[in-house]
Symmetry: C2
Subunit: 432 residues, 2 copies
């Protein structure tokens, strides 16, 4: 047994110290605000769910290898949620009678997966989840794509730094069947092949296609089809296109927000038509930032009612990487606006009185807990990002005044007590 | 295996649907704001910690009966944190060199304890933790008590609905030894007895005191001492009082904020001098809402450096109960400020254009995803708490106008597109 335990967080988890937490609070605060500007309502749920939920429904890799499970003293087999979707499906199913569909919901949970440690992979990550439940309309797709652009815009991302790549699995099915000549039996395997298309060398793809039983000509046609972009639509049957929300999007005002890419599949099993991913277009970081899709029956574990919808999950690790790559990470906020410094401990009560009046005016205000020499207190206030200090001296205090000093200007002025909040606020105003 | 899984959350955990989440967001948002007005900085940490942390340091009841533990595929024995203090001690110890003490930190974690189900007990609860690390000064105590009053005030609690009951364990030790005549050997047992004093019948207390070996006279004196309040200070040695931060508080401007109660102990092992609890004074809910205290060596598991401080943890269940008891629970926020309704689907793009302009003006704006008759849309907008709807009709749109309708006033007006955000904002203004 070591004398002292390690101060490192458990492998794959992270501590968020105040400076980093301040950055995160700003980033996610912007996202909350945009989501709420569309009428999305925040919800939350427990970290623990019945293990069975994930064993029955999540991908096999999650259930077999990535799930954190435990058995309670009462004998319940529980798991730390690896994703939010089953939890929200449970909540929607359990409250369907009192909800007025469609609903827009979002949350910001932490999720656990026992990942092999590698760059950009953590075991506890935080994820924004946003979903519209209870509507099949293409208006949902259009809103999701507008929302994504506004979310990225709120983080400072210019439209050339990312692309929203979209597809409809039904269009892809039709293309594979009607254009490439894939059989119904081969279809699931070809889908899996398409899902790893962009991450796999051409030789390996060809070998896999041959293994599935595609002829060389078919592999060529497949390659061509996946690279066709919007031109592919001309080759697809009219009735397939009529039933596609994506085709409706592509003829709406939202067409300019997305890029139709027939090779986008998204691994998750529950997507049934529209799928999309937001892609970082910078040369050094070309990868999916986050993605989502439409599902036709989300809560089948919990209810016979079919609950349809569309949603996405946006993980914090890739998002913060994206912001760093593009120089968009905000600075931590200052710790306080103003520090009130008594010249000696006898004036501590007086300093607290001034601090209270500043707080009532909405200013973040601290007073020294361990009083040091004035010079040291000024340095410390400067380091905390304060815009001003208020110095409380014996004679001034007796006369009903204090000294206000701007830390940028280094100018001092004697100020009557009642005027202090106004004078300090003016020093805080931008470009003051 | 049941056909459908239960939609109830795991026992002892809670779902927070949007209406409840909105209430919580407001309540905790007020608390964050007050904490930040004092210069407290928010941090966060992982849900999972090494199980050993709690087995070595937390109370025996937690480690033996209440800890949720699991073993990972990699063989690590982990636990879901039952409290935040060991995590923050780890972080402070690991970052002590780069921190400029004293520091004010707060967080809002969820914590897990396998409690027996009973009223007001949950297994996953959310807790505000606030601490000052690295100072022994009585200024910390004073600030904590001012902070607590401001936190309660921000929730709307008037000063007569709660009391901050305070004690110093060293004063109690001295009182027990010097006034009651308790021996050093008896002291821990008498402390444990005092800790359950208020929840235990007088007969049982007398029997326990006799078991510990106190004479009847001593038990009488003990009863008298614990009820003495501030008068007890007159009976204590000067050197004990000189070293007590609490005695300093009682002679400062903060004396009026607290009530000295010699029987307050607080169960947790790591408190070493000042202890306090915030008590609900309403007749129907007389109980501690939350509490905290001062510790002289918080991070001894992780470092040989002595880290002192003072802090408290404020759980959500008792807090929300308090607000409900006193009629202080805020109403859920409206879902949107305004709904933009196209009269038919052909105008959906036009409605989205208007919605975008409203969002840019800071208004929370939705458009129907599944368009119904205007009357139904108006009812739905009203239910969502919107202050206004904007109706987009074919001829109006061609003329560059829309109809704005106030849902409270039921008055309609034709408005040119550029004026819409201004007109809707005016309808939203309080008492407009």
């Amino acid at each position: 047994m070591p004398e002292y335990l390690s101060t490192a967080p458990v492998k794959g988890t992270r501590d968020f110290l105040p400076a980093e937490m301040s950055v995160r609070t700003q980033v996610f605060g912007h996202l909350y605000e945009v989501l709420e500007s569309y009428g999305f309502l925040r919800y939350d749920g427990p970290i623990l769910e019945q293990a069975e939920v994930y064993e029955r429904k999540s991908g096999q890799e999650i259930a077999d290898q990535q799930l954190y499970t435990l058995t309670t003293r009462g004998g319940e087999r529980l798991a730390l949620r690896p994703e939010m979707t089953p939890s929200v499906a449970r909540m929607i199913a359990g409250n369907a009678k009192s909800l007025s569909f469609p609903v827009r919901w979002y949350s910001h949970p932490n999720c656990h997966r026992y990942e092999r440690p590698q760059r950009g992979r953590v075991r506890e990550h935080w994820q924004i989840n946003a979903d519209i439940f209870g509507s099949d309309s293409a208006n949902c797709e259009i809103e999701m794509f507008e929302l994504i652009h506004d979310l990225m815009g709120a983080l400072g991302a210019s439209p050339d730094t990312f692309a929203v790549r979209v597809n409809d699995r039904n269009l892809l099915s039709s293309a594979l069947t009607d254009v490439v000549g894939v059989t119904a039996e081969q279809l699931p395997q070809v889908f899996a092949l398409v899902d790893r298309w962009e991450k796999t060398a051409a030789d390996d793809l060809a070998a896999s296609a041959a293994e599935i039983g595609l002829a060389d000509k078919q592999f060529e046609k497949l390659t061509e089809t996946l690279a066709a972009g919007p031109a592919l639509l001309d080759e697809l049957p009219a009735e397939v296109k009529e039933n596609s929300n994506l085709v409706k999007v592509l003829s709406s005002s939202a067409a300019s927000l997305v890029r139709f890419e027939p090779m986008i599949v998204r691994g998750l099993a529950y997507y049934t038509s529209t799928v999309f991913e937001v892609f970082d277009t910078s040369p050094q970081n070309r990868r999916a930032l986050f993605g989502g899709g439409r599902y036709s029956d989300l809560a089948s574990l919990f209810t016979k009612e079919q609950i349809t919808g569309i949603g996405f999950g946006m993980g914090d690790v890739t998002l913060m990487d994206f912001l760093a790559t593009h120089g968009l990470t905000p600075s931590p906020r200052s710790e306080v606006d103003v520090v009130v410094i008594p010249v000696d401990e006898q004036l501590a009560d007086a300093a607290r009185e001034v601090a209270t009046s500043l707080r009532r005016a909405g200013l973040r205000t601290s007073t020294p807990l361990e009083l040091r020499k004035l010079g040291k207190e000024l340095t410390r206030a400067d380091k905390a990002g304060a815009a001003a200090v208020v110095i409380v001296g014996q004679e001034d205090w007796a006369a009903g005044t204090v000294t206000v000093r701007g830390l940028a200007t280094r100018e001092q002025q004697q100020v009557a007590l009642a005027e202090v909040p106004g004078v300090v606020s003016a020093l805080l105003a931008p470009t003051a």
